[in-house]
Amino acid sequence: MDRFTLSVEAGETFGLLGPNGAGKTTVIRMLTTLLPLTSGSARVAGYDVVHRATDVRRSIGYVSQILSADGSLTGYENLLVFARLYDLPRDQIRARVEEALQIMGLSNAANRLVKTYSGGMIRRLEIAQSMIHRPRLLFLDEPTVGLDPLARGAVWDYIRRLRTEFGMTIFLTTHYMEEAESLCGRVAIMHLGALSALGSPKELEEAVAADLGGDHITLNEVFAHYTGGELDSGGNYRDTSRVRRTARRLG
């Protein structure tokens, strides 16, 4: 990862795009304090990710790319543990768990084991886990990978709700252009560990149109333009097996 400078405004929904292996997940893991920075610096919610890691962790929610809700627990129990890990006051825990279930449309499934949930429900549960402490900033790593179009649309609606109702800033990675177009005010395109474009989807389309002299340019073409359009530019064995495993668990 190099030549990477980026700043995300409070309240915006920001999309980080790039082919597999471009370094999107690495960026998220650095910003969520899971991966140490080897050089350079980053501030999240005003705190330095190295020196104020605990303050950063308190201010953010994180949904990883892999399906990570615990299938052998109920939805309620999955949320309970995070309510405690995020230091919610004891007398508010029950109310906040129920609220999170309700916001994500899971109240009716609260006492079922998560292994009986559909893929879309699991994703919504994971988003509920990561927003139970009402963080200022939510990191979503490939939030709809492996979901069918219907479930994907539902997850988008819930993500929009978090922004409008709680004013959360949302930082997501994706390689679905329609996801970026539907959710994000601004996007950045990454290629081989570096930033190759930054702006609103519309700005980028216009810039590429001017460049290529094309008439109507889609975000897909923008993406191909900035990532060299090569097939197979990245993605190692571990990434690929992880994505496949997620897809399999989603059925």
């Binding site: 899971l34 962790r57 109920t74 230091d87 990561s130």
Partner: protein
């Protein structure tokens, strides 16, 4: 925040007037409470899992039962070891509890690797939870399973006519030693997992570690029966101290070669040092 029954403070010194150290100390009780709430959250999670699917508790029970009923009875009948004034079956009962806790706890590293592969561990690491609390929570989860082994071993021992110590304080002591032992071996396992990182490699090392820990201890035979070199290893093996402590608390008459205070000191020191080391290296698992 004001609670009912507490008056508002008359003087508000504010941030500037209060030295930082005083403010830190003021927050300390809350930080300690949060630390244990978080540790407890992880143990409670393990309890909920076991409640939803208790089959593992039953399959885990088979091994200690076999050791006591077959190995214990045969060796007792053969009078193979000199265990002083107590029958061999009394001698081995606490040893088998120690061994069961070791076998349950030593594979917690695999569970951690599994949770890493599922992405669960990454989410825990992204919460404001001290790493040592994550480690201690996992370790005490192993302790919870160890306690279920304790119940089974007590039942089998009673059936085999072992004279057990039912003094409530002694029972409480046994619970404490089981939790302490589980903490030591589960944390050791998590530390190894943090370095080897894959399940395949861990399986190899787990096997390599478990048998020497078990046989180079006084769990199933007295130290007096060992050659000198093995006795030296047994003397630095935490399992020896765990078995020794259990032997002084579980059976009547109790038997101890190190003495309970030394046992507790050694086990406590192992637990504290390993949890601190574990807290330091646990984050490596998600790199």
């Amino acid at each position: 925040m004001t609670r009912p029954g507490y008056a508002e403070p008359h003087v508000d010194l504010g941030d500037v007037a209060t030295p930082q150290l005083v403010r830190r100390l003021g927050r300390a009780p809350r930080a300690v409470r949060n630390y244990f709430t978080k540790t407890w959250a992880l143990v409670a999670m393990e309890g909920q899992k076991l409640r939803h699917d208790p089959t593992e508790l039953l399959t885990r029970a088979v091994q200690p039962v076999l050791w006591l009923v077959i190995f214990g009875e045969v060796v007792t009948a053969a009078r193979a070891f000199d265990t002083g004034n107590i029958p061999y079956i009394n001698f081995i009962t606490p040893g088998i509890l120690a061994q069961s806790v070791l076998f349950v706890a030593i594979f917690y590293g695999i569970a951690a690797i599994w949770e890493r592969d599922l992405g669960i561990l990454q989410k825990f690491m992204a919460t404001p939870t001290p790493r040592t609390a994550l480690v201690l929570g996992k370790a005490l989860s192993a302790g919870l399973r160890g306690l279920s082994q304790m119940v089974i071993i007590y039942a089998v021992a009673v059936a085999l006519g072992v004279s057990m110590n039912w003094n409530p304080l002694a029972l409480l002591g046994v619970v404490f030693i089981v939790l302490l032992g589980a903490t030591i071996f589960a944390t050791l396992s998590l530390i190894i997992a943090s370095f080897v990182k894959t399940r395949d490699r861990f399986m190899g090392i787990g096997q390599l570690l478990t048998m020497p820990l078990f046989f180079a201890s006084n769990a199933i035979y007295p130290i007096a029966n060992m050659p000198d070199w093995l006795r030296a290893i047994a003397a630095v093996n935490p399992l020896s101290y765990m078995a020794d402590a259990l032997r002084s608390l579980m059976i009547v008459p109790g038997l101890s070669i190190y003495g309970l205070p030394l046992d507790l000191g050694v086990l406590g020191a192992f637990a504290v040092v390993l949890v601190l080391i574990g807290g330091h290296y646990y984050a490596k698992l998600v790199l």
